[in-house]
């Protein structure tokens, strides 16, 4: 989009070791990325096994898993703007990985909460549909289910690209619900998740602004 980015990309592509990196990425990129995405879970499990999760281990684990789920969702939504701004098309397949891991960590978040509440169904369900804090979290989780289910190539083919893309715009809804949920967590409220909220707002605004931006950038070149 910007001339200096083209120059930068060309420079990187001309580096001597670039073909090696590119080929590793092509053959193992997804596996490596998945391993990286598993690291936060391994970290929490290690903390748990060492008794380092503190006085309320399940509550802490719930918070950690929720934060990672939100981070994965943000990473997923960052891909398209990064490709559009920097022309890094190699990032596209990362979107699905981040999206699936967001769902994976959301499941762990829900399970940790169930453990925190002593697997007491009454306590788990209380306020789920009436309390905005719980309801937004529950809906964010619910919205991610069809996205995860239709994440395979086969489902994409079955649905057809157009319908699939429309369905996957639900990612925006999931992200908005998730950040609303996060902002309502904690005694002091919004303050804990302000950075995530700002980044998410930028990523969503980008999608509104980008078509106009692209047109404006293309005009001078005829």
């Amino acid at each position: 989009m910007f001339p200096w980015i083209e120059a930068f990309n060309a420079r990187v592509a001309s580096l001597s070791f670039f073909p090696i990196i590119a080929s590793i990425h092509k053959r193992h990129g997804q596996k490596l990325l998945s391993l990286v995405c598993l690291l936060p879970l391994l970290g929490s499990v290690a903390e748990g096994l060492m008794g380092q999760l503190g006085a309320r281990p399940w509550f802490r684990a719930m918070g950690e898993m929720g934060e990672i789920a939100l981070a994965m969702l943000i990473a997923c939504l960052a891909i398209t703007p990064l490709v559009q701004a920097f022309d890094w098309k190699f990032l596209y397949p990362w979107r699905r990985t981040f999206g699936l891991f967001a769902f994976f960590y959301a499941i762990l978040h829900v399970l940790a909460r169930a453990m925190d509440l002593g697997l007491d169904l009454g306590a788990i369900m209380e306020g789920m549909f009436t309390n905005p804090f719980l309801l937004t979290g529950f809906l964010a989780f619910l919205v991610m289910v069809p996205l995860a289910v239709t994440s395979t190539k086969k489902m994409m083919a079955t649905l057809g690209g157009k319908r699939w893309r429309l369905l996957h715009k639900l990612t925006y809804v999931a992200a908005i619900l998730a950040i609303a949920h996060a902002l309502m967590a904690g005694k002091a409220g919004y303050i804990n998740f302000l950075p995530q909220a700002v980044i998410l707002a930028i990523l969503l605004l980008w999608r509104l602004v980008y078509p106009t931006l692209r047109k404006a950038m293309q005009k001078p070149q005829g």
Binding site: G48, L49, M50, G51, L53, G54, A55, R56, P57, W58, F59, D116, L117, G118, L119, D120, A123, E126, G127, N131, P132, F133, M184, A185, G186, K187, A188, G189, I191, N192
Partner: protein, 290 residues
């Protein structure tokens, strides 16, 4: 009133065959042992009492106060007494809270975030302190303030609350024999993360009423504004009595997680101190005056 004034059936922590990490994750269990209708209250470990804290002056994380509070200098320490009182002035801690008057009180502590502990405090009943200061007939409330010093309390550099931390009690609450100014716990001097050198303990109210590291007591005729009330008046009230029937707008207050146990236990009205304190609130609508 001596030692176990609170009517808490306390049993000491017992040895367990479980590995430490499993005991952490699954709790000590058997909270209803002995066939009693109410779960037994076991003293929370010194480690948990001193490492799981809310003291936003030192950070928002529960482990932050234990990590960062060490830099606070707590001796010498003075408390300014002002307002509607016959003996205003600047008092050294030992003059205001004489060490020879210190008693032990084992109280439940219920945080507004729905977790709780059982803590053996050492301190002096606030009523005894106030009687010596002789409030005037106009004194209807007493307001407290925490130290304000962003150099020692780095959390005060962020605008989470309107610093300094402020709390207050109605005079009859302050004079109630259960209300304590604590200078220690488990027989040791308070650690900074627990609010050294002196902090308030009002066992029938949510933990945030228990203002830490107090530097000011002001007697006044009108109700003082408190830090949490200022920050979110619809969520945190002046009274902040533990009440399972009045939920926090964002979470239930019906149950609580007792630190060290697995799962939840029911929250008791006035944190189980209703027999002693319910009469203070006769005729009040506790859903409105929360």
């Amino acid at each position: 009133m001596a030692g176990a004034v609170a009517g808490v059936g306390v049993s000491a922590g017992r040895a367990s065959a479980m590995p430490a990490f499993l005991e952490r994750l699954l709790g000590r269990g058997g909270s209803r042992e002995g066939g009693s209708a109410l779960p037994v209250d076991t003293q929370t470990s010194y480690e948990d009492v001193t490492t799981y804290n809310n003291f936003y002056e030192f950070g928002l994380g529960k482990g932050d106060p234990a990590k960062h509070a060490g830099r606070m200098v707590t001796r010498p320490w003075h408390v300014e007494v002002s307002g509607e009182v016959a003996h205003p002035g600047i008092y050294a801690v030992d003059d205001l809270v004489p060490p020879r008057d210190v008693v032990e009180r084992i109280y439940r502590m219920r945080c507004v975030e729905a977790w709780s502990m059982v803590i053996p405090w050492n301190g002096v009943p606030l009523g005894d302190i106030i009687r010596r200061l002789k409030p005037t007939s106009k004194a209807k409330f007493v307001a407290f303030e925490t130290l304000y010093d962003p150099e020692q309390m780095p959390g005060q550099k962020s605008p989470v609350l309107d610093w300094p931390y402020a709390e207050g009690l109605r005079m009859d609450e302050a004079m109630h024999p259960l209300t304590l100014i604590s200078t220690g716990l488990y027989g040791k001097d308070l650690l900074n993360q627990n609010g050294a050198p002196l902090r308030l303990v009002v066992p029938w109210k949510y933990g945030f009423k228990n203002i830490k590291s107090i530097v000011r007591m002001h007697f006044m005729e009108t109700r003082p504004e408190t830090a949490w009330e200022k920050s979110a008046p619809h969520e945190y009230g002046f009274y902040a009595n533990v009440n399972p029937d009045v939920d926090h707008p964002r979470w239930s207050q019906k149950r609580e997680h007792r630190i060290g146990e697995f799962g939840q236990r029911p929250t008791l009205m006035f944190n189980g101190y209703g027999e002693e304190v319910a009469s203070l609130y006769t005729g009040m609508d506790l859903a409105r005056s929360f």
